[in-house]
Amino acid sequence: MANVLQTSFLPSTSSLRRRSISGSKGKSQSLQVKAKIREIFMPALSSTMTEGKIVSWMKSEGDKLSKGESVVVVESDKADMDVESFHEGFLAAIMVEEGGVAPVGSAIALLAETEDEIAEAKAKSQSSSNSTPQVVEEKPKQIEEAAPDVPAAAAAPSVPVAKAVTLGSAVHPASEGGKRIVASPYAKKLAKELKVDLGTVVGSGPLGRIVAKDVEAAAVAVPVAASPAKPDPVAPGIELGTVVPFTTMQGAVSRNMVESLSVPTFRVGYTITTNALDALYKKIKSKGVTMTALLAKATALALVQHPVVNSCCRDGNSFTYNSSINIAVAVAIDGGLITPVLQDADKVDIYTLSRKWKELVDKARAKQLQPHEYNTGTFTLSNLGMFGVDRFDAILPPGTGAIMAVGASQPSVVASMDGRIGMKNQMQVNVTADHRVIYGADLAAFLQTLAKIVEDPKDLTF
């Protein structure tokens, strides 16, 4: 009934080699071990087939296969076929995941003869194909081993799970004190796809249920969370001329950056005079207020008047006016990047906000940020002013509506309307926004409001 093809397992080159030396059995131990790992190729199911799509793997890595057992369903240009195993052994490594497409004759998985060889086969699969997900998955483990001194909570994306479980699911009233995670069907599907552990996700749906957008937000946040885990900054031991595969974090950042290209963004810049803000900062600095907190506060107050700039569009069909204004502020840490979030920055007073900020930065340095402390931002601030950068533009993080790049405030010669020339401190800000939901006039109005607040900052301390 099922179209069972017997052609899937072509002998790999190594096994051919083995056959050639089969006369001298056991002559070369290492060669023989190597030879027991066979490649599973994409079979040619019809004469016109050039590539096949993996519909589903019926076995998972590590599963034992007996001869004649169905391993994988392959979709060709004509039909779907079950492909069955020609050899006994263990499915060591899947090289093309479900939904993936591979040309006829290319390796799609490795088959190990004994259980001991699974690891070896895995290693082989990683070296032979740097696009496999295995590379990404394996990395965190290696990192953990390499850097035992890194606090566990931030060591790898998979580790904060344990801590966050209670946090994530306890929100749900019926989750029996965190024993159950309540997530919608699509959220579950997405979590599997994006490799997000639902235990780490804070639900924002009805009654605290985890919905798709929570998973998406968590997926965006994961790379950031992972960044502190990078054990050794590249600087000391960079070998020039080498090709270095992405770490998990770099891979995730890369994916997010590429994903950001699907959002049509545009930029609007504005020059803001900061004399009044600088004066205020000087005055209340002794009370522990930081410039970051002031900027976040000013931004939040401006966002109150322009809710559309605090909105986000996730599906391309609708957008969400976020109910709270959570300012994420990008912070560079150990060569990585993290965005601690100042929640409800519009409502919290500047002193509390400053304390909160200090706490977040300390936590970030100690790699102890909880997921909700870095993945709930609705608007992002990125400040490179401290490096003397006077202007730059930022890439919009997926899942948010806008990000503001803040340059250094520096004294400038300014001509005023009445024909005088004077000296003023000015900084340039540049907002990148999702034009599907935020239009030029929205940003212009927002920036005008922001400038007004910064230039007359009495509301910041209320």
Binding site: M1, A2, V55, S56, D77, K78, A79, D80, A174, R180, V182, S184, P185, Y186, K188, K189, G205, P206, L207, R209, V211, A212, G316, N317, S318
Partner: protein, 566 residues
């Protein structure tokens, strides 16, 4: 399929029961409209119509010159009384008039029954919307065609209105078609008071008693709700409520993954809901050919916002109240242990349909229902408690549970009318097609592969299976809808078609070539010479028949090979 159906009859709860009912509407609609057209043509061209009728009725009885409804017999008020004006009753009534019988139909609710008012018809309206939404939302699909569409949206009220309007339009079509032919529509609940005697009347009014030579019970069915489930009509609903589309929940659990459940999952996911299936059996979509359900799951379930629990019963469902969501207790179907608790925004109960036979007065004629179903023989003759046939009493449609499909009821009704007008007729249920109107559609006729294999072993013949893919069909590819499979189960020795299963674009319309072949006994070696227009989807079946390897030669007197004109 036949065995699936008898399974439905044997159990009151099966998902397939309800399911089987749901998929008939297009056929029904065609039927209703065609009949209506016939009726109108008689009215407008009165003389020719009369001539036509009398010719038809010649052998049986002289057609009345005053009207199209036949003359009453001397001792009875009517030749035929049908209790229930659903699709089955309607089909029987129209055929009875055509045969010259004086016919009355008793309806206690609205004409059209479940199918037209609460089933197939309004659900097709919703599915028409979901199909278009799905297409418009599929950026990938649109892009492949070179189309650009900005965000597709929908207005719930508008969608619900379309479903409601369609139901009333079809209902009035049905009513008019019967009125035009002169069928007496008697309002009230019908009860059998004795042999050939029925009383009817509205509650609070005096009953009228009428007599008829023959009586057909066609009272249909109602949604079956297992115990432990509290239906409030708002958050815990049956298909009756769901078709009104009063709200589109974010997350809806659908109990039962038969036809009804599948169709509603198609509607709800297209409108933006997420769906959780709860299925008592170990796999989704029981009742379909396993290969088809496997493929269907890959296309209709896995890529959509749907998850599922199989092998579990929803033993307790509490509607949303006091700020709490709908709570569903899941119990393992085998161990009977509590397995999980779900909290969702709404739950749709699609666990089957129960016959609506209470109050029919069956006790007056010594008939005992089996789990509510009226026992009948293969000619739809009602069997009494002692196993004897009740003379002049028939039961068709969901009420007998043989095959819970609107068009099957209609076919059974026609079969009964044939019998009472003197021609023996037994309906071949294996030739009755069934369809599920998901996107893409699923359709089938005859046996599934496991059923065919079982039969082959028992009766000692060989079977073969042929398959063709929509991926190889030009029209399907032009539509960019190459996903799909047609499967033929046949006897290689004599070319008999045992079953055909189709999953793909317009599968519901494509199945009729196969179902007609089975009904007429056409063999593969003959039908393979029939010509199909190119390029059309029907070539999927053409190729299917051609790819079958039949040992028997084509019959020499095949109607297809005979020239029509010299």
């Amino acid at each position: 399929m036949h065995s699936t159906l008898s399974f439905s009859r044997a159990t009151t709860v099966p998902t397939t029961n309800y399911a089987f009912h749901s998929q008939s509407p297009i056929n029904l609609r065609f039927c209703g409209l065609r009949r209506e057209a016939f009726g109108i043509s008689i009215l407008t061209r009165s003389s020719s119509g009369r001539v036509r009728l009398s010719t038809r009725g010649r052998s049986k009885r002289i057609s009345a010159s005053t009207g199209n409804n036949g003359t009453p017999p001397k001792s009875f008020d009517y030749d035929l009384i049908i209790i229930g004006a659903g699709v089955g009753g309607h089909g029987a009534a129209l055929h009875a008039v055509e045969k010259g019988l004086k016919t009355a139909i008793i309806e206690g609710d609205v004409v059209g029954g479940t199918c037209v008012n609460r089933g197939c018809v309004p659900s097709k309206a919703l599915l028409a919307v979901s199909g278009r939404m799905r297409e418009l939302q599929s950026e990938h699909h649109m892009k492949a065609l070179g189309l650009q569409v900005s965000a597709a949206g929908y207005d719930r009220q508008g969608v619900a209105g379309h479903a409601n309007n369609l139901a009333s339009e079809i209902r009035s079509n049905l009513t008019n078609s019967m009125k035009a032919l002169g069928v007496d529509i008697l309002t009230g609940f019908g009860t059998i008071v004795g042999p050939q005697k029925v009383k009817y009347g509205k509650v609070g009014f005096t009953d009228n008693v009428v007599t008829a030579k023959d009586i057909i019970i066609a009272t249909g069915s109602v949604p079956f709700v297992p115990k432990g489930i509290e239906v409030d009509g708002k958050t815990v609903i049956t298909s009756d409520h769901a078709l009104k589309l009063e709200f589109v929940p974010d997350w809806i659990a659908i109990v039962g993954s038969g036809y009804i459940g599948l169709e509603f999952s198609d509607v709800y996911t297209a409108l933006g809901s997420e769906v959780t299936f709860i299925e008592a059996l170990d796999q989704l979509m029981p009742g379909f050919d396993p290969e088809i359900s496997k493929l269907a799951q890959r296309v209709l379930i896995n890529p959509r916002k749907i998850d599922y629990h199989t092998g579990v019963f929803a033993t307790k469902i509490t509607p949303a109240r006091d700020g709490k969501p709908v709570i569903i207790e899941l119990t393992d179907a085998k161990t009977k242990e509590h397995k999980d608790t779900l909290e969702v925004d709404a739950a749709l109960i699609a666990t089957g349909r129960a016959p609506f036979t209470n109050g029919l007065g069956l006790e007056n004629i010594n008939v005992v229902t089996q789990r509510g179903f009226v026992p009948v023989d293969e000619r739809m003759r009602v069997i009494d408690a002692n196993g004897n046939l009740v003379p002049h009493l028939y039961c068709i449609g969901d009420a007998n549970g043989k095959m819970m499909l609107a068009h099957a009821a209609s076919a059974q009704g026609i079969s009964v009318v044939e019998q009472v007008t003197g021609r023996d007729h037994v309906l071949n249920h294996l030739s009755v097609p069934a369809a599920c109107f998901t996107h893409p559609e699923i359709s089938m006729v005859g046996l599934t592969e496991p059923q065919a294999r079982e039969k082959a072993v028992k009766e000692g013949f060989e079977i073969s299976v042929a398959k063709t893919s929509f991926k190889a069909n030009t029209k399907a590819l032009a539509e960019n809808e190459g996903e799909g499979l047609a499967k033929l189960i046949y006897r290689p020795d004599n070319g008999e078609i045992l079953g055909v299963h189709i999953f793909g674009l317009h599968a519901a319309d494509l199945i009729h070539e196969a179902s007609n072949a089975i009904a007429l006994g056409t063999r593969i070696q003959d039908i393979k010479f029939a010509v199909h227009a190119h390029p059309t989807l029907s070539e999927v079946l053409d190729e299917l028949f051609k790819s079958a390897k039949v040992k028997a030669p084509a019959s020499t007197s095949s109607p297809i090979s005979e020239p029509v004109a010299a």
